[in-house]
Symmetry: C2
Subunit: 320 residues, 2 copies
C-alpha cells in the first residue's frame, strides 16, 4: 500500500526483510488446527539442568509458544547429575510424547551422550544418532512402507523451510533436487546445525561451502544428480571465492564479535542469520541482498512442535 | 633372588613397580590359545584417516600385537571425508569381525558421531552409545539369558584388570561389589576413559573422586550397597582432601605439563598412570606408593583383542 507511492526504481532495488514470524505462521496454524481436531493434546517435557539464563529464557519461550498452539508443556528442573535418570523415566512414561533438553548441561562430549539417551521415539529435537545418521545418509523414512518420515533437527529444518518460503527451493524441479544449481555458503559447521544443514541442502541438490574457523569443506553430489546422497570434499577455496559464487549465505557464528564481510557478497544475494548474535550488519546487508532473514527462532520452535505431532502420531500407531 | 641379601626392612618398604606387560601376559596367552584352537582367525580392521604420527604409531603397534597373537589385522587408510562410507562398508562385510578407528579424525563432536556409526556388533573399542549406556546403567549382558557380556571400552577395562591383578579388587567379596570400602581418585573425566572408569569402579562398590580441570565429582552407590548402579554427586571436596582419603590414585591427563603432587598422597597408596605422558614422577612416587603402574598400553591392546574374540563369537552365534 504505502510503497505504491515510491518510484518504481527504488521498489525494485529494496532488500526484502523477511521476519521469521511470517514464515512460522502457516506452520503454527497447521499445528493448532491439528491439535484442535485431535482428542489428546501432546505433552512435551523440557529438561532444564543448568543455571544458564539463555537456556531458561528459551524454556520460557517454548512454554509460551506451546500454550499458544495448545501443546501441553512441562518444564522439569533437576541437578545435572540426575538428568539422565529423569530422561530415562520420561522415555518409559507413555504419557510423555516428546522430550527436549536445554543445553549446555555438562558442556562438551557428555552432552552428546545425553542427546543419545533420549528415545528416538520421543526425540523432538532430532539430535539422537539414529536421526542424524539417517539425515546424513539421505534416508528419509523410518519404515520400509515409507509412512513415517524421519525427524530432522529443528534448526536446520527451520532454515530449509525458510528457503522454501522465500523461493530458493524451486518447486518446478523434482522433490529431492529442488536446490539443483544453487550455491550456498554456511558459516558454521557445528554438529547441531551447520553440518546437518550443509548435508540437507546438498542432499536436495545444492553445492554448499561449509565454513568454520579451520577451513572450508564442500558438500554436494558431485557432477550431475547421479548420487543418492551428498559427498564431502576438502577444498582450498577461500571464503572470498566461496561468497563470490554464492546465491545464498547463511551465518550462525555463536559470537558477538563475528561480522560477515558483506563487501564479498554477490549483488542480489539472499542472506539468513541463525546465530542469536547479529552476524550480519543490518544496514550493510540491505545494500547488497535481495532478501534478508535476520533471525529464525520462531520457525525453529514451529518445527519443534511439528516434530512433536509427528512423534505423537508414530507412538499412537505403535500402540494401536 | 638378588633381594634375599637385602635387610628385611628395605624389602618391606620398597615400592613395587608393576609393568603392564606382566599384567597383559595371561590375557595375551588366553587370546592366542583361543585363536590356535579355533578354525577362523578373527579379522580386525583399523581405520586411519588422519596425519597424526601418534595415531600411526598406535596403528603399527596394533598390527604387531595382533601378529603376535594370530589375529589378522588390516589397516585401511582413507581421507577423513570418506571414512564414514568405509565404516559402513565394513559394518556390512561379514568377513570383518571388528572395527576400530584411530582418533582424532575431525576432532570434536564429529568424532563422537563417527564412534556411533560403527555397528555395535563390531565395535571392539566399546565406544558406541549402546555399550556406554549399558555400562553407565550397570547392564552387564546384551541378552536376557545373560550369555553375551557387554563390551567395555578398552582403556577403562584395562585399568579394572590391572586393579584385579594387583589385589585392589577383593575376591572374598561378592562379584559386583569387590571394591566396597575402597576410595579411588581418578584425575581425568573424559568421555572415553575417565568418566566410564569412574562409573565402572563405582558400580563395583568403590567410592570414586573424579577430577577434571573444572572440579571434582563423586561416583558411588550412596550408603551401603542398596543401589544397583552408581550415583553421581557434585562435591566441594578439594583435590588435597580427596587424595588424602584415597587408597588408589589413577592419572590420565593428556599433557606433558601435568604432574601429580605426590606429597598429597597417603602413605602406601597404589598409583596408576594411563596418560601417554608421565603424570607421576617416578622417583617421588616410589617414596610414597606401595604399588606403582607407570603405564597400561599393553593391557589396553590385550583388552581390544579380548573384545574382538567376544564379538566374533557373538557374530557366529547370530549367523548359526
Amino acid at each position: 500500500m504505502g510503497s505504491s507511492s515510491l518510484p518504481l526504481n527504488s521498489i525494485a532495488m529494496a532488500c526484502q526483510v523477511v521476519n521469521a514470524a511470517k514464515v512460522a505462521t502457516a506452520f503454527i496454524n497447521e499445528v493448532r488446527a491439528a491439535i484442535d481436531a485431535s482428542a489428546a493434546s501432546p505433552l512435551l517435557v523440557g529438561f532444564l539442568a543448568n543455571d544458564d539464563p539463555a537456556a531458561r529464557k528459551y524454556a520460557e519461550w517454548t512454554a509460551r509458544t506451546c500454550q499458544e498452539t495448545g501443546i501441553r508443556f512441562e518444564l522439569r528442573e533437576c541437578p545435572r547429575t540426575e538428568l539422565e535418570d529423569r530422561i530415562v523415566d520420561a522415555n518409559e512414561d507413555p504419557a510423555v510424547n516428546g522430550i527436549m533438553v536445554y543445553y549446555p548441561v555438562f558442556g562438551g562430549p557428555q552432552d552428546q551422550y545425553i542427546q543419545n539417551t533420549i528415545s528416538f521415539s520421543k526425540d523432538v529435537e532430532g539430535l539422537c544418532h539414529k536421526y542424524r545418521y539417517n539425515m546424513y545418509h539421505n534416508i528419509r523414512f523410518l519404515d520400509k512402507a515409507e509412512t513415517q518420515k524421519c525427524i530432522i533437527p529443528c534448526t536446520p529444518l527451520a532454515v530449509v523451510k525458510i528457503l522454501e518460503f522465500i523461493g530458493v527451493y524451486n518447486s518446478i524441479l523434482p522433490y529431492g533436487n529442488r536446490l539443483h544449481g544453487r550455491v550456498i555458503t554456511i558459516v558454521n559447521r557445528s554438529e547441531v546445525v551447520g553440518r546437518p544443514l550443509a548435508c540437507l541442502l546438498a542432499n536436495d541438490g545444492a553445492k554448499v561451502f561449509s565454513v568454520d574457523e579451520f577451513g572450508i569443506m564442500e558438500f554436494h553430489r558431485g557432477e550431475g544428480i547421479k548420487l543418492k546422497k551428498h559427498e564431502v570434499f576438502e577444498t582450498k577455496v577461500t571464503l572470498a571465492e566461496a561468497l563470490a559464487k554464492s546465491d545464498v549465505v547463511i551465518t550462525g557464528v555463536p559470537s558477538p564479535n563475528y561480522k560477515l564481510d558483506t563487501s564479498l557478497l554477490k549483488d542480489g544475494v539472499i542472506a539468513i542469520n541463525f546465530s542469536t548474535f547479529k552476524n550480519i550488519d543490518h544496514d550493510a546487508i540491505k545494500e547488497k541482498a535481495s532478501i534478508f532473514v535476520p533471525s529464525i527462532g520462531k520457525v525453529t520452535v514451529a518445527m519443534l512442535e511439528r516434530n512433536l505431532l509427528r512423534l505423537q502420531a508414530y507412538q499412537a500407531s505403535q500402540s494401536a
